[in-house]
């Protein structure tokens, strides 16, 4: 109700939250990721408690909060980290290696903890904080002392997550949004991993003052990521087949100001193609490729298109697919609280489409799992300026292989390449004195996974 108007928001320090801003909440160190919009009334359910999000307004992104029990129920309070606070943990790491304890004597017979549920409830009623309950649980555990310090830390963390959950306030960026979706609902973004997304943006040379043509059937993550890189200059043209734009709900999760939102336009493909001489675009000719199998291969194809691309008139396929069904997920994102954000994705005005037709787009990105890559790119390449780069994403290899083969045959582009990014995260052990052990633990890791 008291949402600030976009002008005010654009003058806002983007590193401090404001009323009405969109945030990503990381609960218990990545256990749960929630997108939310901060208003005085919005709340977040953690465990079985509802916490008001008001205390998060006006805090810098990166702040850490903890659920505490107050007189009027649970509330979120800010936790300030001490910068040198890790010294005890460093010692812990030494202990892992030097101590001789192990967990072989621990029997899981459910008798180790002497505090009952009622005891804990009683503690809560007396106004004990989450940390105090965790301390009580540790004190009343018969086996805690005999655990290795690694197990002790694990135990402490597990109890802290339950009795004193922590909420980290994060900025919704292409990176964090893509990571969160990939973790929770990968199908909604077409299994587009953050490293693939970053490659698409690089390969398509997305930068300020560019006019980027996108086919985004990955929920809007691509459109949003491009708009983020344009920073309120140029345009991202989100094009679609037929009459219904593809859903781009994810764009609303970004904290885009008015200036950036104005640069996100939608246009049916036929509007972009129609004035081209000779080729009257038959967008209905595109076939829908349905792929229901699961596979997490990411493939990206990128290239630069030369101007002497062969005219397409003679090459159009004459298929009879008059009407088409595109399978997309129209369901709204379940984890954003519905609330007004600045409007993005207006239909492109005539002046804009005219300009694009005259000048050509600076680049093209296709991330459309349900469209045939070859017929789509064949339709769209003539809209690109000469020498403009393009990149196509698909989670399967074969459509891109066929597409690349056809592009080569018809000499429509040079510098074609299919590549698959392969990313892996490392767990780095901190103590330098035990490099050998670190390597060993890596080896074990590989064995057990």
């Amino acid at each position: 109700m008291s949402q600030k108007n976009p002008e005010e928001v654009s003058n806002q320090n983007p590193r401090i939250t404001w009323e009405g801003c969109s945030v990503l909440l990381d609960i218990n160190d990545g256990d749960r990721l929630v997108f939310a919009r901060l208003t005085a009334a919005s709340s977040l359910k953690i465990g079985n408690k509802n916490c008001n999000l008001q205390p998060l307004i006006g805090c810098p992104f990166g702040s850490l909060f903890q659920v505490d029990n107050g007189k009027e129920g649970p509330f979120l309070s800010r936790v300030l980290p001490t910068t040198q606070g890790n010294s005890d943990q460093v010692e812990g790491d030494y202990l892992i290696i030097s101590e001789s304890k192990d967990n072989r004597a621990i029997v899981d017979n459910n008798t180790a903890q002497s505090l009952t549920g009622e005891d804990i409830d009683a503690l809560r009623r007396q106004g004990a904080t989450g940390d105090e309950i965790v301390q009580a649980l540790i004190a009343n555990s018969a086996t805690f002392e005999n655990k290795t310090s690694f197990s002790q830390e694990k135990y402490r963390l597990k109890k802290q997550k339950k009795y004193a959950p922590r909420v980290l306030l994060r900025r919704p960026f292409a990176r964090s949004i893509c990571e969160a979706y990939f973790k929770k609902y990968p199908a909604r973004i077409g299994f587009l991993r953050v490293d693939s997304l970053s490659l698409l943006l690089s390969m398509a040379n997305v930068t300020a003052h560019s006019d980027v043509l996108v086919v985004d059937m990955v929920g809007g993550i691509l459109t949003g990521a491009v708009a983020e890189r344009l920073g309120g200059t140029g345009y991202v043209c989100n094009s679609y087949l037929g009459v219904t734009p593809y859903p781009m709900n994810i764009v609303r999760i970004f904290n885009f100001n008015n200036e950036i939102c104005k640069r996100i336009l939608q246009s049916p493909l036929c509007d972009l193609c129609s004035a081209e001489d000779g080729t009257i675009a038959q967008t209905e000719q595109l076939e829908v490729a349905l792929s229901n199998q699961k596979q997490s291969n990411d493939e990206i194809m990128s290239s630069d298109s030369p101007p002497n691309s062969i005219s397409m008139e003679g090459n159009c396929l004459s298929s009879e697919n008059g009407s088409m069904d595109i399978i997309t997920e129209t369901a709204a994102s379940p984890f954003i609280k519905p609330c007004k954000a600045a409007k993005a994705g207006e239909k492109a005005p005539q002046e804009a489409t005219k300009l694009w037709r005259e000048n050509g787009f600076s680049s093209l990105i296709i991330a459309a799992p349900d469209l045939d890559a070859w017929s789509t790119v064949k339709e769209l390449l003539p809209l690109l300026a000469f020498s403009a780069p393009f990149a196509i994403y698909h989670q399967y290899l074969q459509p891109l292989a066929t597409c690349m083969h056809n592009l080569q045959l018809e000499k429509m582009a040079v510098g074609l390449q299919i590549s698959e990014p392969w990313i892996r995260e490392y767990q780095v052990f901190f103590d330098l004195k035990f490099v050998f052990l670190f390597n060993l633990s890596l080896f074990f890791c590989n064995e057990t996974r």
């Binding site: 980290p81 910068t83 890189r229 344009l230 780069p389 292989a401 083969h405 052990f429």
Partner: protein, 303 residues
């Protein structure tokens, strides 16, 4: 290299005197050339006169005195990286794109870069901060970003970052810091002072021992410390004719890979079903095994 409001790639944009073009011979053979009225390019295809290029659109096919041709492409940071790759050890495109994404660099950001390499990352950083941001690069030698037209976005200073740290004038102003140093842990305390709260640091190191040492140094002031390795696998695509068991044995050599689509009627009466050409992909052999580790960390939020 980067577009401005009035100067961007378009159907009408032509190559002019003074432009930087990428001469494309093959996907693995490119060269950056500054176009000059009187200039000539000589390569294995013969002699190309620059004056023939002027007035042609970017992406054009141009011919040498012997009738062989090359393409003239508009430069991008990716092509620039490929051109540079012949010179020194550089960061590759997969690493670069991940760095830009994870450092959350958007237009207007102030980025500090400290590196010993050839500056292949710098052009991508400049592209990401344009038009209002800036990249301050500390290097062991003064380089020229005039050629790529990025001098308004990049400032290069000669400075020993490991010894002296970053200059104090950037204290608390940097959105992101990138370190490509042999002993990054020496620069991490200074980098922490330069960053805004919640700002992100990235350190690129080829060896895991360096990563460990850096991670140790990061622990006191940084959070969300994560280390990645990213590689790119490329694929070769071929159209192959597959022989089926039922086909006549005489033409069993038909399964050789062929680049062009061949008429499927050659000497095979009635067995067309068994020899339809299929497009297939296989991984290229030349994939790089390891480039380096990328360690990211976020400055803790203390106020």
């Amino acid at each position: 290299m980067l577009p401005t409001d009035s100067r961007k790639l378009s159907f009408s944009r032509c190559i002019a005197d003074g432009d930087l073009v990428i001469v494309y011979e093959r996907h693995d053979n490119m060269k950056a050339v500054k176009v000059c009225d009187t200039g000539v390019l000589q390569n294995r295809f013969g002699v190309f006169k620059h004056s023939d290029w002027i007035g042609k659109p970017f992406g054009s096919k141009v011919f040498s005195n012997t009738g062989r041709f090359v393409y003239l492409l508009a430069p991008t940071p990716e092509l620039w990286t490929l051109v540079l790759s012949h010179r020194t050890q550089i960061l590759y495109i997969a690493d670069i794109s991940l760095v830009i994404m994870y450092l959350e660099i958007i237009p207007g950001c102030l980025v500090l870069e400290s590196g010993t390499g050839s500056g292949s990352l710098t052009t991508s950083l400049a592209r990401a901060v344009a038009p209002t941001g800036h990249v301050h690069r500390a290097a062991s030698a003064r380089e020229d970003f005039e050629r790529t037209g990025l001098s308004s976005l990049v400032t290069v200073a000669v400075r020993d970052i490991q010894g002296e740290g970053f200059p104090d004038i950037f204290c608390g102003l940097a959105d992101s810091v990138f370190l490509d140093l042999p002993q990054p842990w020496l620069a991490i305390p200074s980098a922490g002072k330069m960053l805004k709260q919640d700002g992100i640091l990235c350190s690129f190191s080829p060896c895991i021992e360096q990563v460990q040492h850096s991670s140790e140094a990061l622990r006191s002031n940084f959070t969300d410390i994560r280390t990645f390795e990213i590689l790119l696998r490329t694929y070769e695509v071929r159209e192959v004719k597959m022989e089926s068991c039922q086909g006549d044995e005489g033409s069993s050599l038909g399964s050789l890979p062929c680049k062009r689509r061949q008429p499927s009627s050659e000497g095979r009466n009635g067995s067309e079903i068994s020899s339809s050409p299929t497009v297939m992909a296989r991984t290229s052999g030349e994939a790089r095994g390891h480039t380096g580790y990328l360690t990211f960390a976020r400055l803790k939020c203390v106020t």
